[in-house]
Symmetry: C2
Subunit: 142 residues, 2 copies
Amino acid sequence: MKNNLECDIRQTLDRISAKMRRDYSEALRELNLYVGQDNLLSRLWLGGDGVTQMQLCEYLKCEPPTVTNMVRSLEQNGFIYRIKDKDDARIMRIFLTERGRELEAPVTLKWEQQQKKLLHSILPNDRSLLRKLLKQMENDLF
Amino acid sequence: MKNNLECDIRQTLDRISAKMRRDYSEALRELNLYVGQDNLLSRLWLGGDGVTQMQLCEYLKCEPPTVTNMVRSLEQNGFIYRIKDKDDARIMRIFLTERGRELEAPVTLKWEQQQKKLLHSILPNDRSLLRKLLKQMENDLF
DNA sequence: GTAATATATTTAGTATGCTAAATATATTAC
DNA sequence: GTAATATATTTAGCATACTAAATATATTAC
């Protein structure tokens, strides 16, 4: 069991994602962001100003308390602000501040750099094959 | 940039690893373990009884404070115990309890189940190709 | 032998991420 | 209109995981 193919694939995948996360986390610290916050902001950058926390849960595929914490941190650091919906008092709507909006370009640059590093030695043909296989795995998982 | 190949691969990889972690976390809760603790224990199962925390850092590829916390939790739950090295008082050596040793079989079973699910629809040929590409990516990253 | 440096671990404080339970507001059923 | 149910968010408490700083012990330089 120890050294077979399946085991190796799962473990390698684990190591890649952990290492990717660490590197990426470090890169984002230069922008005063924590890893994951960029994903939340990206939902707002693509014209999603006024989105609810439930919509962010859906987008980030995480649970409501996680979004509560992320949103609190981002608000405290001045990247977003929240307004209670006037028709449904249960709902908080999230908006970008100017400072949050300004992060789009530098974060996109970090994304590109990270991707470049990740796929550095993979040839174009292999890239599309890799994507196909990963998508297949994703489908099996969900 | 938004929908190109590279971006897709990074994001898909992210989603797979997050989903895998969630599923796996749930499965491990039945054994009173948290995700990651199984990896620490596996280092001990493979004849590594008496290992130091620094060696666990190396194995788990994480920082010393993380190991301190994991080890504290595992000790409190009775899976391991710690003894101060008699020659070097800075070093703590980690040992499995009987309860910790008993977890090897059920955890291995969970691993197999998770791997099976992950690679369910990937053909053997594609599996070795996939592994090759993942290893290549890992090399680029480190 | 003492001072400076290196190593191993812990503490404090931050984040993401979870579950379970509490709270507040809306909607539905009667 | 009231009671029961559903939805959105928060709180509390747990985990992994990080950095920076503190602590304790060893080793090296002199």
